[in-house]
Amino acid sequence: MNFWQKLAGCILLLVVCLSLAAGWLAPAGYAYQDRENAGAPPSHQHWLGTDDLGRDRFARILYGTRISLLLAPAAALISTLLAAMIGGFAGYAGGIWQRAATAITDLFLSLPWLFLLIAVRALMPLNISPLESVTVTFSLLGLLGWTAAARVLCAAGASLRDSDFVCQARASGVRNSRLFWIHVLPNMAPVLLAQFWISIPVFILSEANLGILGLGVAEPLPSWGSLLRELEGMISIGDEPWKLAPLALLVVVVTCFQIVLSNQQEVAA
């Protein structure tokens, strides 16, 4: 880990700690509407001002960070596991399995995922709490976002299948299931881990995209996506630069992730 990676890691840690301390740092909460002070500029009471409905922007950023930073890894975990099961197994098994998995992956990759996500979301039950909705949103992201990782893991599985030590183990009479769990899977761990880490910023940005379309996390729960919606309408930015805070935080976090994961990306490649 070089200096920049350490620095980026510290920043990420700080952001996580701040978001976890949201209840203490912003006691007003993310949902309270101070309707007399809607759209207020930064003040002692509201460090980053209030949004159009009078909600404390600082509190909403902290809680939104908590949601995005906690649930994006969960979505990444779902997608990586799916990718491992589909791509990793198919790559290792080879033959018709690999061809089938490649075809399914190609099919999924060719789908316009955003529209697919919107369509799937429209079919979900309506009467769910905001917390359930955020879980559903990130789960959907995870369930639909496994394809790119699956390709990498398929290639990794295929290379392991043909590796010398697997051939030797197979020649020694080791059963296929034992071979997969004891020899292949542990050797895929670095690639899995890399895929997991590099998926996190992707899911953060995906949720932000959905949020900008108004299809992300349900109100009043904040997320980075819903916070970024304040920036639609370029006319409002020039005079109210504090509205850029969620965007700045998103850029910082995603950049830090990229710096920290630069080694992982080499592994994944």
Binding site: A31, Q33, R35, A38, G39, D52, L53, G54, I118, A119, R121, A122, L126, N127, I128, S129, P130, S133, L213, G214, L215, A218, E219, P220, R229, E232, G233, M234, I235, S236
Partner: protein
């Protein structure tokens, strides 16, 4: 004053007068007005117009027999010098203006009106304007008694018959071709000179336009109007700020405030418009929602209590920055004739709402309202994703209702999914949407208020009215539609408005203000609440030359 000074004074005075006359001349004639259409016009055939962009072009290029004055909302003679509607509201007789010519120089006669009516009522044309005239089976007949006198006979009474001719642009019987409608010929103040799909529509002055001003000058004053096709409101705003456009119609409150902070003299808030925002509960018997929720939604007391617990003043002040008014009922006070002035504003009364709910068997348990069977009172409120004003209203309503223990889940859906749930599957609990009204007459809302109608959104297409009050609304709407006396019609429709406010099938929330902006170069503008807000008097607008 010395002779020299006197001479200098005269020279200066003369120069000033000359300059003033020159400025006046510049202001009185010529120039190009520019503004944006937000969508591509779907048609140039004035009888097939449906979308906003085509409506704007029809307004600027079409000649009508009778015009609704957008400011006074009264009817004014245009191509018809006078008219008379029969007592049974089945026929209308026009005395047409003589000496009027189409933009190709051909004369306008009763033949053209007859041709227009035949085309308009042709079922194969599927004219949305024509549909409004279709009140009974049978053909519409036209009787021409002279080149300037004619009668149109409808198979059944048509309420508000004369007012509906505001939307009927007369087409030429000898030269109009549907496939080349863009070429006219036209009877309005402007003609389509050039259409660049996806880019712009250029309108030029109609040299044969019949109107003159009080001084006998030919109208319109403008040489041309350039309509940029620009769906992006940010870019429209930039164009306006750079002086590349002179008008903005239907501004939203954010843009309005931004412009007002920079140049307050450029923006106009004409007050409450006809547009309303409302929410409603699903009362469809076959809807796939729990029976206990259906029971709440079908309870008048429940709907009224929810209505009382919503702070409409805050919706106007917080979400629309004060550029909206609490809605009083189905029609906005902006509709001068049809609004029922007896309606009172809905006061925000969360305590009274809670008490009336408790009287209906609901009770508060640890901050959560429960019904008599112990079910938590919670429902989902859907609105269309991407509309920040509706989303804002939904979030404020969520917090308002939380105060009486009602839990609201705000759900934003893409519009097609929302419409499918609303009209096909009925799989929803409550919806927040808006109605854009362009017609002042309640007949235009028959498809909303009749219980058998498709757009009777809370419980559409009922075979027979499921409630006594819906049966009463049906009766009153039909009575007003067949009555010819405007006072009688108003009496019937006032009662409809009162029933709707009593029963709250739609919980009317706000009426948005009509906001617009016009450049200081535009002279003679007088923005109003009716479409087209800023260019309703386009023929009398002038453009001063920029320095």
């Amino acid at each position: 004053m010395t002779r020299c000074q006197n001479f200098s004074f005269r020279v200066l005075l003369g120069a000033a007068l000359g300059l003033s006359a020159a400025i006046s001349a510049l202001a009185q004639g010529g120039g190009q007005l520019r503004f944006c259409l937000h969508t591509e016009p779907k048609t140039f055939d004035p009888l097939q117009v449906e979308d906003d962009a085509s409506v704007s072009i029809r307004y600027l290029t079409g000649g009508v027999l009778i015009r609704v004055n957008r400011q006074t909302q009264a009817l004014e003679p245009e191509l018809a010098e006078s008219w008379k509607v029969s007592k049974d509201a089945r026929q209308i007789t026009f005395k047409l203006r003589s000496g009027v010519r189409f933009s190709d120089g051909s004369p306008f006669t009763a033949e053209d009106v007859a041709f227009t009516m035949q085309r308009l009522m042709d079922p194969a044309l599927h004219s949305p304007t024509g549909d409004a005239f279709r009140t009974g089976s049978g053909k519409v007949q036209t009787r021409i008694t002279s080149p300037t006198q004619m009668t149109i006979v409808f198979p059944a009474p048509v309420a508000g018959l004369d007012r509906m001719f505001d939307q009927v642009a007369i087409v030429s019987s000898h030269a109009f071709r549907q496939e080349s409608a863009v070429n006219g010929p036209f009877l309005g103040p402007f003609v389509v000179a050039e259409y660049k799909p996806g880019s712009s529509v250029l309108l030029r002055r109609n040299a044969y336009y019949w109107k003159t001003d009080a001084q006998g000058r030919k109208l319109p004053y403008l040489d041309s109007i350039l309509l940029d096709i620009q769906p992006n409101r940010d870019i429209e705003m930039l164009h306006f700020r750079r002086g590349e456009d002179e008008l903005i119609n239907a501004l939203d409150s954010d843009y309005f405030d931004k412009l007002a902070s920079m140049s307050p003299e450029l923006v106009h808030d004409a007050g409450a418009s006809l547009d309303s925002e409302q929410m409603w509960f699903n009362q469809v018997a076959k809807a796939p929602i729990p029976d206990y929720k259906k029971a709440w939604f079908r309870s008048t007391a429940f709907r009224r209590a929810i209505s009382e617990a919503i702070n409409r003043e805050d919706l106007c002040r917080v979400v629309f920055h004060g550029h909206a008014q609490p809605a009083l009922g189905p029609f906005s006070p902006a509709n001068k004739f049809w609004f029922d002035s007896k309606l009172k504003p809905q006061t925000y009364m969360p305590d009274a709402a809670l008490k009336s709910l408790q009287a209906e068997g609901f009770h508060l348990d640890n901050g959560t309202l429960k019904d008599s069977h112990g079910n938590d009172v919670a429902f989902s409120l859907i609105t269309n994703a991407g509309n920040k004003y509706r989303e804002g209203m939904a979030v404020l309503i969520q917090q308002d209702l939380q105060k009486i223990g009602v839990h609201v889940n705000v759900v934003t859906l893409d519009f097609p999914s929302l419409i499918e749930r609303m009209t096909q599957t009925f799989d929803y609990e409550a919806i927040l949407l808006g109605l854009t009204n362009v017609d002042l007459d309640p007949n235009a809302e028959m498809n909303v208020w009749l219980s058998s109608a498709e757009n009777h959104q809370w419980n559409p297409q009922q075979k027979t009215p499921e409630t006594a009050w819906e049966a009463e609304i049906d009766r009153l709407m039909r009575a007003q539609a067949s009555a010819s006396d405007p006072r009688k019609r108003k009496e019937y429709f006032d009662r409809v408005q009162e029933i709707v406010v009593e029963q709250q099938p739609f919980i009317f929330l706000i009426n948005k203000d009509a906001l617009s902006a016009s450049s200081s170069l535009v002279k003679g503008e007088n923005p109003v609440i009716l479409h087209p807000q800023t260019f309703w008097n386009a023929e009398r607008l002038t453009i001063a030359k920029a320095n």
